[in-house]
Structure formats: structure tokens, C-alpha cells
Amino acid sequence: MTTDLHLWLIPLVPLAGFLVNGLLGRKAPKPVVTAVALIGALIPMLQVSAIVTKFSSLTLPHIENLGTWITAGSFHADFSFQLDQLTLVMLCVITGVGFLIHLYSVGYMAEEEGYWRFFAYMNLFLFFMLTLVLAENFLLMFVGWEGVGLASYLLIGFWFQRDSAANAGKKAFIVNRIGDFGFLLAMFLLIAHLGTLSFTRVFGQIGAHPAWQGGFLTAVALFLVLGATGKSAQIPLYVWLPDAMEGPTPVSALIHAATMVTAGVYMIARAHVIFDRSPFALSTVAIIGVATAFFAATIGLVQTDIKRVLAYSTISQLGYMFLACGVAAYSAGIFHLVTHAFFKALLFLAAGSVIHALSGEQDMRAMGGLRKKIPITFWTMTAAVLAISGAPPLAGFVSKDEILYQTFLTSKLLWSIGLLTAGLTSFYMFRLWYLTFFGESRAHTAAAHHEEDLAAVHARSDTKVVLETEHAAHPVHESPWVMLGPLVILAILSVIGGFMGWPEAFGGSNWFSRFLDPVVATGNAAPAGDSHLEFLLALVSIAVAFFGWLTAHILYYAKPALPARLATQLRVFYSLLKNKYWVDEIYGVLIVGPILFIARWVLGVLIDRGVIDGGTLTAGYTAQGFGALVARIQSGNIRSYAGWLAFFAALLLAVSYFGWTSHFYLR
């Protein structure tokens, strides 16, 4: 039976919100803007929840076609939306977290003059993100894919007067474009070989030909991975995400933690049929994932900007999700996606609240001792920290262990790295926790010590605050409830979210993965592991997480002097991590520099000016030269003219008399 769910409303409402705010918002009073924006976020959520209620009664996948978008020859792509378990999960996350963050922003952005713009962009983002997950074909998915990129470009560059922000936005967009390049090629390959981009048809055809292994499917998969690494900030294309922290904190929470960056994971899960046919592609994904997870975590160890720590942690967590997909544990990946959405959004929002409290201070070295001053923020943050660092039974613990367990079944090596990363994670998270909330407030001293750093930090921190720090900073203050509310809700989710997929090992039913199985169940079922092993591994990872906490406790609570000394002793590593392995610099030297050089000098000057314009000029001058030669005849002297005439007369006579003429012309 086909009940019309009007799926198209889900993305189109936020779009309407965007149009209204975008076109009229500048003039409109603030409350109106707020109302429009919140409605734009709320209605989709309500509709999704409505769908959830009658979900069981649906025939899945449920597809709604709105007509053709692009067609040529035999190929055509439609505006067609599809709803299945995977989509539903994503919808819940996006609309839910999305709405909360909208709510939060009302408070956070209250004093912005670009208020209307901000919310317009946010709604625009929702529109594209929802399109992305609702799409029934790769092309429509690509619409969302590029669209969220656009939204994040606009939001990162929200404070466009700041070059750093503008640069970050541009960087994000261009790096994402590199990924999109991969996505495009993947689509071209699919069209070339299957003649369609519709999920049902593509996966159907592949399913129908068990013979297809590797071959062009590998190529497709690898190009898709390239796309995913771009969007989900994986090696080698992760470089844009840390800079993206230039954007307002809610943006970081929504786009760069909860939703957009997970699009890559979603896409891989969605296209798992293709990946399943290409072990090579899968292992690539796994390796990229684990490498990114570890690599980002290490960088996270020494960052001092609170948002950057979270940024690297996001990258690292995304790595986990990739790892999961790489070992074909898609449901685990998605599960982690969900939980991560909860606690990472929470972390960002809480961090935002902290920054808000400190009037825009983002440097942890200038924080400390906030436990008492902003208790609610503190407690919610605590929940998030525990969740991410894998303390049972919080959400992060469950999802991460699921991933590690599945990895273990596939490859011990990957597992061990993943485990190590888990330790690092809990370490840097608690480091953040301690530095922020415990000890004495270091605001003034930090200012004294790290002048230049602070300058840098301030250059980065939000303008509204820069303005304020010029006159005396506010006293530290807790955020308004419109901001705290979302914190609390997310905190609760981070705590209990895990029970959705509570593993059998602990007497759960792993409902979540079973729920997703219709979509992502791989043909080759994973080796059914015994629950003891899973239990054992869980204990190990708990231990590791605990150890991570312990180190953090010692270094940043018990012996606050120690880190500095360590830093001096392991100077090499320290600066290596501190400077993020100089990856940006290396890219700059190896790729950007040469391209610009070639563009300006080789092509711009040498070829265009030199060869092409030069060629034209030479041609002109040659003609003129001949002209001068001809004019030379014109000496103005009658006798010369007569001589000229006589000469050619004689020549003509001779020629015509001896009948040479006929040989001397081309006919």
C-alpha cells in the first residue's frame, strides 16, 4: 500500500523558511525571524515523528516521485524521495538535533546584527541535509551533498568581515569540491555502465549480477570514498574542518559535528551494495578510517583552543565510523553516527556556552575553575565527556565498542589502533574537562604568558566578543535557558542513547542494528562472534578509557606543572602535534603553490601573453613589413616608375611570347 507521506514537505519547509528570512529577514523584526526559523526546523521534526508513529505500517522502501529533473536520451534523474530505516534514522538525528540547535542559537546569536542571515542559512542547511538523506538517486543526493557544502561555506564565513573566516569558508568549499569531483566521477561511471543513478535500479542491477566483483564497482566505490573523505573530513581531505571552527559555535555543533560531516558515512552505508562487491574499497575505507581516527586524536592531545580540540575529536570519531563501514559493520557505523551526534553536538553547545560565559574566550589556557560558576554547563559537559570517552553505559561506550568488536572480528591490527585511539580520546577529553572546569581561573595569567597566542586566539574568536573584550569583559555568567535546555536534552540522550543498541553481550538485543538490517545487512554475514569475546573486549576498552582518564587526571589535575615539562622534554613530538604535522603547510607547498605558479606565470604570462598574443602581433607586424616593402616601390620618381613599367612590360612580352605563362599559375 502506498500512503502518501508528502516527504517533499520535509525539506521544502526549511527551504521556505530560508526564502522568507533570506528575502525579507533584513527588514523583519527579530521575533518574526526567530519564529520563521524555528517553524522551519520544527515542522520537519513533527512530520518525522509522525512518520515514526506509522512507520511500522509502511512498505519499505517508500518512494515518492515528483517528476523528472534532468533527462537526456535514455538517461533521466528524478526528484524522487525515498524513505527506509536508514533514512528514518538520519531524519530523526537531523531534525531532532537540528531543532535543538536552532533553539540554542536563538540565545547564542541573540546580539548578532546578522541574526536573520544566520537563521536563513541554518534553514537552508536543513533543506539540503534533508534532501541528501531523502534522495532516491545519487544525483539528488548530490544536490544535498553540494548544498550542505554551500550552507557550511556561508555559515563558516558568517563573519565575513574577518579574512580568517572568509578563508576558512572558501577552504571548506574547495576541499569539499575535491571530494565532489570524486562523487561526480563515480556517478559518471555508474551512468556509463548501468545507465541510471536511481538507488533501486543501481543496487537492483548489481544485485542481479552476482558475477560483478571489483572491476568498475571498485572504481565507483573508490571515487565515492574520495567524495566521502571530503565531506566527512577524513585523510587526506580533513584539513578544512579545524578551520571551519571559524563559524559560530552552533554551526560547528550542527554542521561540523552532528550532521553534515556524517554524510560521508551515510553515503557509504547507503551504497554498501557497491562496497560489498569490492573488498579492496572496503579495506581502503577501514584503513582511512582508523588512520584518521588515530592521527586526529594525536593532534587533539595538545590543542589549546577548546573548539579545535573538539574539531579534531570529531574527525577522529568520524574515523571510527569509517572504520565501522570499512569492516562492513554499517549498522555499527550508523549507530556511532547517532550517538556521536548526541554527545558531540552537546560538547560543542556546551563549549559554546563556556565561550559565551567567558565572553568569547576560546583558549583553554585562559579558562579553568568554571565548575562552580556555570554548573549546568559543567554537568552536561561532563555527561558528554564521559559518553565520548566510552564510560559505560553511556551512548559512546556502546556504539564505540560495537565498532571495536566488529573490527576485532575482521582485523586485530585495526582493532588495536582503534583501541589506542579510544585511550587517546578519553585522555584529551578529560584534559579539556579539567582545563576548563577545574583548578583556578587562569584568565589574567594566561593573558600575561601567551600574549601572541592570545592575539591569535582573539583574532579568531567571535567578533561580537572582540568588540566586548575591548571594553571590560562581562563577569562569568551562566547562559540563558533557551541555550541550556538543548544542553540538558542532549545530555540525557547521550546518557541513555546507548540502550538503542545495547549489545547481546550485556543482555541487550542490539535493537538498532536489527532495525537497520533490512537496509544495510551485507550479503556475507559477519562471523557470528560469541558474547564472551565481546564482553572481554568491552572490559579492555573500558580499562583503556580509564587509563586515559587517569593520565589526564594526573597531568592536568594532580600535577598541573607536569605537562609543561613533558612538552619541553618531548619537544619534537610536541611541536609536531602542536603544528598538526604541518599538513596544511605541506599541502600549500606541494599543491597550491605550484598550481598558482603555473597559472600565473607559465599559462598567464608565458602562454597567453607570450605565445598567443605574441603570435597575433608577429603576424600583424609581418604584414606591415610587407606593406613597407611594397611602399618602397613608390619612390615618387617618374623615371623609376617608367623603369618599373618597362621592366615588367619586357617580362610580360617575353613570358607571353615564349608561352611560359601557362606553367606559372595554380589553377
Binding site: G67, S74, G147, F160, R177, F181, G195, I595, D613
Partner: protein, 540 residues
């Protein structure tokens, strides 16, 4: 169906003025020009009148898509009267899916051109608008003419107003630019004329349809090598006008010097349409032979244009090179002979005409405010001119092919269509999307973001006025509409494409051979003679 009206089909046979609609569309501007010649120079009478005329032309041209029979192949709205007895020249106009939207585009850009010149042109208004209208006629004529002589007439005629206007209004190097442009296009056209005359000498007719059949049946008894020379003569003349990579020497100078209304129409559609109509229509085999070379040039052009644009500091030059890049996409689409690619090529031609013009209009508005095209002097404008900034960003997004904008549809069709034919080259071309994003966003940032430059601070900021709004919004809206409702355009275009002898559905061809992984080189367009192969080098 969300857009049922998309399927609307008007099967009317006896619609008023269907018989002479093309003559009307073509020569209303000329009539207007003659009137303009007698209007007083004082006041805005000339502008207003020209605007009226161009609008009228546009409205008339809408008659075509409205009453076009999309089901039917071949030419419609034909007019075919004898003009000169001998040489046998006929006044033969006609429209098919190929030229349908190009004509509408040309007429659409008419009012835009007037509006954008409204203040920018304050001296010699009479000359300007006279020639402007003449140019309109020439362009429309090129698209509508079906008699080779008539076509050539309009083709050459389109040079003159352009050249004169560049010479008259070029701010600093106008004369050189004008002469450069003229010679660049005129000398190849001379050889083109030789080819036309040769055909006439052989066939005794200039009529496109007749020539097509004669050539197709090989009734003219022209030696193969002669045929390829003829097609080359055609192709070079068109390629210069497009322009195709090594022949683009005139483009940047002209875009820089020409008044915006002219710069908008100087490149692209005329040449590309002609390649379609004649190289594919008359010399399909030769076109296939040269295809490998053209594809290489196209790919080079895409990357070259994007990279050089990356290095520009002058807005207009940057736009010029981006135009070069975008047009190369069309060339790529044409010479891969895939149905989707061809559709995309035409669609992309429309896009370029639209988006490129919008961009030029925008920078000209900036120029009217700040009297410079040098990006390094701008900065932080978004804070002062939000509307202009918004529209600028929208246009840029359309140009870099963001989905739901027209640019994406074109690029996607071209690339996806061409991919099976030349995977490697098309992949290379696809990197163009990265580069185009880079230079456009960089331009946006340098003009609108960051600190407000002294130039910006010292000038009073006034955002778009009414005239500028009505100039820009139609284009912006059209960009979106074409991006979302592309089938409405494609169905016309495709009906024009299908007339060409192409192996229609490339993709299904591939579908049969998916078994062995990547598409292999015997996907290349039908037999390509050795010489072309050599030119190609390592493509396969």
C-alpha cells in the same frame, strides 16, 4: 507529477503570425534601429524606445516555444521565398529545437543589454543603440537563417556593430581590441566563404536542407580530402568565434574593452550553434574525424581557462577566461557525440549566455559605483551592498555549477554524456569544477568579504536601484528555473539534437559491455582517419 504543466503541448496549426513570426523577430530590431536614427539625441527617448523594441522582440520570440511542435522533427515556422534568382539565393528562415532557445536567449538579453547600458553609455547614444539593435538582428538572423548565403550575411554582419562599438566605447585600448577582434574573426570567415562558394559551385544551391541531403548522399562527388578541408574551413571560422583554446587571443581584450551589452553576446552561442548546425549537420563524418583533436583542445581550454582566471586581478579578464572555460565544456559535449553530451552542450551554451552576462552586468554595476575593475582595490563590500553581494554570490554559484542551478545541469549532462566516450579526458575536464569554484569564490571573497578597503570606505554606498533590480532578477530567477525544470528546455533541445547522425544512446551501448570494467577505447566515435589520430597523440 509536481509540474504537470511541464508536459503542456500546444498542437496548433493555424496560430496567428506563425507564418511570418521569424521575419518579425529578426527585423523588428532593424526597424527600431532605423527609427532610432531619427530620434532626438537629448533625453532618454532613445533608451526608452530601444528598450521597448527589445522587449517587443522578446515577447514575439516567446511565440516560438509556445507554439513549437516538440514532437515533430526538422524545421518549423519556415519562410522560404526566392531572393536572388542567380546565384540561387533564397530568403529561407526556420527554427528547430537547436535554435529555438538560442533565439529566445538572444532576444532575452536584448532588454537586459539596454538596461545595463542605460547609464553606462552617455555619449553617442544614437550610434550605440542603432548598432545595438542591428547586432540583435544579426544574431537572431544567424540562428534563423537556413540559406547558407543568408546565414553568412548575418554572420558577418554580426561583426560590424560589435567592432565599431568596441572601438567607440573601449575605455583605453578600444581601437586595438576592436581591430584584433575583427581580424581574428574576419580572416577565418574569408576561408569559410571560400568553402561556401565551393559548395555552391558543386551543388548549385545555398539551401541548408538541400545541401544536407546532397552531402549525405554523396551526390556532389567531392573528394574526401576536399570535404575535410571544407569542414575545416567551417570549423575554424566557428572555433574562433566561440572561442576554442588556441584561438581565444581576442577574447580577454574584447571582454575588457567592449561595452557590457556587447561583451555579453560576443562569445559563445553564435559559434557553437554554427558548429552544431553545419559541422555536425553537413559534415558529420569529418566532424568525427576531427573530434579527438577538438576534445583535447576542449579539455585544455577548460583547465587553461580556469587556471588563467585564477591568476587575474581584473574582474573582466577573469570573467573572460572563465567564459573560455565554460565554453570549452560545450565543445567537449559536442565532439563526444553522445546524446546527453550534445544536449548538455546546447544547454550549457544557454547557461553561458545567461550566467556570463549576469556576471558581466554585476561587475559593470560595481564599475559604475567604484570606477574600477581591479579586484585588489575592493573588499568588504558585502557589508555595504548586501543585495548586490547576494546576487553576485548567486550568479557565481550558478557559474560554478551548483546543483539546482542551470550550470550544473549543463556540466553534468556534458560530462556524464561524454564520459563513456573518453573517460580519461572527461575525468581531466571534471577537475575544472574544482578550479572554477576556486577562482569564483576567490573573486567573491576579494570583492565582498574581508575588511572594507579604502576605496569602498571613501565612496558612498548605494545598493541596487530599481533599474538594476529589474536587470538582475530575471536572470537570477531564470538560472534557478533552468536548474530545476531543465526538462522544459531539454525537450526542445533534444528534438533538435536527434536530427544528427549520432549513435543515439551511448549509455546503453556501454551497458552491454559493463562486464569488462572500464569503458575501453573502441567506444571512440566512429572511424577516425589516421591524420586525426596522429593529432590526438595519446588520448586512447
Amino acid at each position: 507529477m509536481l509540474f504537470p504543466w511541464l508536459q503542456l503541448q500546444v498542437p496548433e496549426n493555424d496560430v496567428p503570425l506563425t507564418d511570418h513570426i521569424l521575419t518579425l523577430i529578426t527585423f523588428v530590431p532593424t526597424a527600431g534601429a532605423i527609427v532610432v536614427a531619427f530620434l532626438p539625441r537629448k533625453g532618454r527617448a532613445i533608451q526608452a524606445f530601444t528598450l521597448l523594441v527589445t522587449l517587443a522582440t522578446f515577447v514575439l520570440s516567446l511565440h516560438l516555444p509556445a507554439h513549437f511542435n516538440y514532437a515533430q522533427r526538422g524545421f518549423q515556422f519556415q519562410e522560404n521565398q526566392p531572393w536572388i534568382a542567380s546565384p540561387a539565393i533564397r530568403y529561407h528562415l526556420g527554427v528547430d529545437g537547436l535554435s529555438l532557445w538560442l533565439i529566445v536567449l538572444a532576444t532575452f538579453l536584448g532588454p537586459i543589454g539596454v538596461l545595463v547600458s542605460w547609464r553606462a553609455i552617455d555619449t553617442h547614444t544614437k550610434e550605440f543603440y542603432f548598432l545595438f539593435l542591428l547586432q540583435q538582428t544579426a544574431m537572431i538572423g544567424v540562428f534563423a537563417a537556413l540559406d547558407l548565403f543568408l546565414y553568412y550575411g548575418f554572420w558577418e554582419l554580426s561583426l560590424v556593430p560589435m567592432a565599431i562599438l568596441i572601438a567607440m566605447f573601449g575605455p583605453n585600448r578600444g581601437r586595438q581590441a576592436a581591430i584584433k577582434f575583427f581580424l581574428y574573426t574576419f580572416i577565418p570567415s574569408a576561408l569559410f566563404l571560400v568553402a561556401i562558394l565551393y559548395l555552391y559551385a558543386k551543388a548549385g544551391t545555398f539551401d541548408f536542407a538541400q545541401l544536407q541531403t546532397l552531402l549525405a548522399n554523396g551526390d556532389l562527388g567531392i573528394a574526401p580530402h576536399v570535404l575535410s578541408w571544407l569542414s575545416l574551413a567551417f570549423l575554424v571560422a566557428f572555433a574562433v568565434k566561440v572561442p576554442v583554446f588556441p584561438l581565444h587571443g581576442w577574447l580577454s581584450d574584447v571582454i575588457q574593452e567592449a561595452p557590457v551589452a556587447m561583451a555579453m553576446v560576443v562569445a559563445g552561442k553564435l559559434g557553437l550553434y554554427s558548429i552544431f548546425r553545419f559541422n555536425l549537420g553537413l559534415f558529420p563524418a569529418q566532424a568525427r574525424a576531427i573530434a579527438p583533436l577538438m576534445i583535447v583542445l576542449a579539455v585544455i581550454g577548460i583547465l587553461y581557462g580556469a587556471l588563467v582566471a585564477l591568476a587575474q586581478t581584473d574582474m573582466k579578464r577573469l570573467i573572460a577566461y572563465s567564459i573560455l572555460g565554460n565554453l570549452s565544456f560545450c565543445i567537449l559535449g559536442i565532439f563526444c557525440f553522445a546524446i546527453a553530451g550534445l544536449n548538455g552542450a546546447v544547454f550549457q551554451t544557454l547557461n553561458e549566455g545567461l550566467t556570463g552576462s549576469a556576471l558581466l552586468v554585476l561587475v559593470s554595476f560595481l564599475y559604475e559605483r567604484y570606477r574600477t575593475y581591479d579586484m585588489s582595490l575592493y573588499g568588504g563590500l558585502a557589508a555595504r551592498l548586501p543585495m548586490l553581494a547576494t546576487l553576485f554570490v548567486v550568479t557565481s554559484l550558478a557559474l560554478i555549477g551548483l546543483p539546482l542551478f542551470n550550470g550544473f545541469v549543463g556540466e553534468f549532462l556534458v560530462l556524464s554524456g561524454s564520459f563513456p566516450v573518453h573517460p580519461a579526458w572527461v575525468a581531466a575536464a571534471t577537475t575544472g569544477v574544482i578550479l572554477s569554484a576556486s577562482y569564483m569564490l576567490w573573486m567573491v571573497q576579494r570583492i565582498f568579504y574581508g575588511k572594507q578597503s579604502s576605496l569602498v570606505l571613501n565612496r558612498p554606498a548605494f545598493d541596487l536601484n530599481f533599474r538594476e533590480h529589474i536587470t538582475l532578477w530575471p536572470m537570477a530567477i531564470l538560472m534557478l528555473t533552468m536548474g530545476v525544470l531543465s526538462p522544459y528546455w531539454i525537450k526542445g533541445i533534444q528534438s533538435g539534437i536527434l536530427q544528427f547522425p549520432i549513435d543515439v544512446t551511448q549509455t546503453t551501448v556501454v551497458a552491454q559491455r559493463h562486464a569488462h570494467g572500464f569503458v575501453s577505447t573502441h567506444m571512440l566515435p566512429a572511424p577516425t582517419p589516421a591524420d586525426a589520430q596522429k593529432l590526438m597523440g595519446g588520448v586512447q
